[in-house]
């Protein structure tokens, strides 16, 4: 054999050898991966330092999944996802809903959990100067209560300031008084490992004081280590439900001493001689309105009517509607409530089963900590239980969401029509001799409000329902039956309200017709992107227009264009 031939054989042999060694290593790695995750080596983890970089160092796979949320800001679904476009541009009727309230000026589709604090720092709703100069002169800054579900630093803040004091203090004052850098590992830290996991053994726990209190009031037992007692499968929902709920700030009726600034500013640092002083303030406490929702029972929307009636003396409204003067309740992300009565809930499916499904990581089975819409991975989310193919399952979800969306939009248009009619009636009544002669403008307003009260109450009730469905983040999928029932009630109450308006108008000899606003009317009042110092406020990759294809979808929902939806699944 020639030397050259031998050399070639040797080289081939070496390459094959490397291949064998690599393959062997791969087999070894997969074998070790498939062994259950170890929860030893937890030393050094404590609530004192909730930084996900520290906790994640023990669980690198989970940190990787969590950090994926940082770059996932372009995953829009038809009705949610984490693509941060302006929701008031997509649904301009909401600017009518929130006339006189900060939400009218800025409301975006939220990004993922990684951004929970960053998004809250960035929104113009948290910018006193902007709101004061855009029609909300009396706005004096968001309270610290807003941080309850947006910061991984909550436990330490409550320890530092006290529970009621923390809620009552101003948002940016707390930020300024927080130690640590102004980064996602400091003041900007959003949701993190410690919010749901116990540092001793990584078991699931509920950490939000308002949630623990509310769960106990519903009939759960308290637990020192886990917040409340529940088995693991239930915990896989309860940890989510500590934040994804409707809430409000209940005045405690007592003064508390809190830290305040001599010159309140929307920035994370002190400057221009700004000093911290102690002031007396009316205490508020973050509260979940769950008194009528008992453990093990499905939530019903009427429970909110009953609850907010029961506290009306101390908490009459979230805001007074600027044009109708109705006492309005603002809803926010009531996922826990809507889901509770669903078919999935009845079958013991937890939030994590769909939003954090078990997936493969090499040979390992892991709970996905890239928390997202199940539509992004129907295979992992739905097919654990459902044996149909992925396209079929995806179409089922889309169909349900579109059907419910059609009803939610109908509800919103009906409430918007009612708002327009009450506003028209108010201005017509002002022209009547009977009211025009009242010199005191305030008194004049009170007199008209008194007469309009039946219509205003229907405005409050119908808007609460439409708002509930819009703020809930599943376009009805979390419980289609209850969603449709709530939307139908919103339409009914809004129409009842319009009837009241017409009856009152007739009584005063005012000629009016009930308005019927729809998609096209709303496009005419769609707000332009917010500007600060003549510059678009949100910069890329943040969007501040609603995506065109989503608007096209909405256009076909009411009235429902079956021709479009039947060929476009």
């Amino acid at each position: 054999m020639k030397t050259k031939g031998l050399l070639v054989l040797i080289i081939i042999g070496i390459v094959l050898g490397i291949g064998i060694a690599w393959f062997s290593a791969d087999i070894g790695a997969k074998k070790s991966e498939s062994v259950a995750i170890k929860t030893e080596n937890l030393q050094g983890l404590s609530d004192d330092n909730p930084d996900f970089a520290v906790w994640g160092a023990r669980f690198p796979d989970y940190l990787d999944m969590y950090l994926k949320m940082k770059d996932s800001t372009h995953t829009a679904t038809e009705f949610a996802g984490s693509y941060p476009y302006s929701k008031i541009n997509r649904y301009p009727q909401l600017t009518m809903f929130w006339d006189g309230y900060a939400f009218k000026y800025d409301y975006n589709q939220n990004r993922s959990h990684y951004y929970s604090q960053i998004d809250q720092m960035d929104t113009l709703r948290n910018n006193k100067e902007y709101l004061n100069s855009h029609g909300l002169k009396a706005f004096d800054g968001q309270p610290g209560a807003c941080m309850n579900c947006h910061t991984g630093n909550l436990q330490n803040l409550v320890k530092k300031f006290g529970w009621i004091e923390f809620n009552t203090m101003k948002y940016w004052t707390i930020i300024k008084m927080m130690e640590g850098p102004n980064t996602v590992h400091g003041k900007k830290m959003g949701s993190t490992c410690a919010d749901c996991h116990n540092p001793d053994d990584m078991s699931l726990r509920v950490t939000r004081p308002a949630a623990i209190k509310a769960f106990i009031a519903r009939g759960y037992e308290s637990d020192e280590k886990h917040g409340i007692k529940a088995d693991r499968q239930e915990m896989r929902s309860l940890v989510c439900m500590q934040c994804h709920v409707e809430y409000y700030n209940q005045p405690t009726g007592k003064k508390v001493t809190v830290k305040a600034e001599t010159n309140y500013q929307e920035i994370p640092e002190f400057r221009e001689g700004n000093k911290i002083i102690e002031v007396q303030a009316n205490g508020i406490e973050l509260t979940y309105p769950w008194k009528f929702w008992k453990k093990g029972e499905p939530f019903r929307i009427e429970m909110f009517d009953d609850y907010y009636e029961s506290v009306r003396d101390s908490f009459p409204y979230d805001f007074i509607h600027a044009s109708t003067k109705a006492p309005i309740l603002k809803m926010q992300h009531p996922e826990a409530e809507l889901y509770s009565g669903s078919v999935h809930a009845a079958n013991g499916v937890s939030c994590a089963d769909c939003h954090m499904p078990y997936t493969r990581k090499g040979a390992k089975k892991v709970t996905n900590h890239f928390i997202a819409s199940p539509l992004l991975d129907v295979n992992a989310s739905c097919k654990s239980c459902h044996t149909q193919n992925e396209d079929y399952l995806k179409n089922q979800v889309k169909d349900i969401q579109r059907m419910v969306a059609a009803n939610i939009r109908s509800a919103e248009y009906a409430v918007a029509s009612l708002i327009q009619d009450i506003t028209t009636l108010r201005s017509e009544m002002l022209k009547l001799q009977e009211f025009a002669k009242i010199a005191d403008k305030k008194q004049q307003e009170i007199e008209i409000t008194k007469i309009l009260t039946p219509a205003l109450e229907l405005h409050r009730k119908s808007q609460m329902r439409a708002d509930f469905m819009n703020a809930e983040n599943s376009s009805g999928f979390h419980n289609p039956r209850e969603s449709n029932r709530i939307a139908l009630q919103a339409v009914k109450y809004a129409k009842d309200g319009q009837n009241e308006v017409l009856a009152i108008a007739m009584k005063y000899g005012i000629k009016m017709q009930a308005s019927k606003l729809g998609f096209e009317d709303m496009r005419k009042i769609a707000p332009k992107p917010s500007e600060v110092n003549n510059k678009r406020y949100y910069e890329s990759p943040l969007q501040d227009d609603a995506p065109k294809d989503l608007l096209k979808l909405d256009k076909n929902l009411v009235p429902y264009n079956y021709r479009v939806f039947s060929n476009q699944k």
Binding site: T3, G13, L16, G17, S24, I27, K383, T387
Partner: protein, 157 residues
């Protein structure tokens, strides 16, 4: 010793390492078990854990092994199918980083499963299958597992 002799010895050494390494891999990856019909062999691959657990609780556990449903029954077809699937599975499991969480049967497997349902249950199902073999029923829209979904394992269709 000449240059050629040195190279030749080196080649012998490398060949030895290759054969040794090959045998070690075969042993480490439970290679022999793939020549058996034991259901546990299918579970060598960790992605089969859930299905294997399901199977162990299933109604068919006492009477059928994985391959009784999932491979053809005649000698030649069985071994060709085994080699083909084995190689495919090995490649995918080694190189594909984004395996779906839940697998779906491909057309070949669906055909084999249907064939095997009939092969074991022939006495009972003749009355049903005979009509379905007629020309007008050849669209294959229904198979035994369309209705009897959970007999083998609950998940992963």
């Amino acid at each position: 010793m000449g240059k050629k002799a040195i190279l030749f010895s080196l080649l012998v050494l490398i060949m030895g390492a290759l054969v040794g390494g090959g045998f070690f891999i075969f042993y480490n990856a439970n290679g022999l078990s793939y020549l058996s019909s034991d259901s546990a062999a299918c579970n060598n691959c960790h992605v089969m854990h859930e299905v294997y657990d399901d199977y162990n609780k299933s109604s068919h556990k006492a009477v059928a092994r994985c391959i009784d449903c999932h491979l053809p029954h005649t000698f030649f077809r069985k071994w060709v199918a085994k080699a083909e699937s084995g190689l495919g599975h090995m490649m995918v499991f080694t190189f594909e980083k984004n395996l779906p969480t839940h697998f779906e049967a491909n057309e070949k497997t669906k055909k084999w499963v249907q064939e095997n349902c009939i092969s074991c249950h022939k006495d009972y199902v003749e009355n049903i299958t005979n009509p379905t073999l007629k020309a007008q029923h050849q669209d294959q829209s229904l198979s035994c597992v369309s209705c009897h979904k959970n007999v083998g394992h609950k998940r992963n269709y």
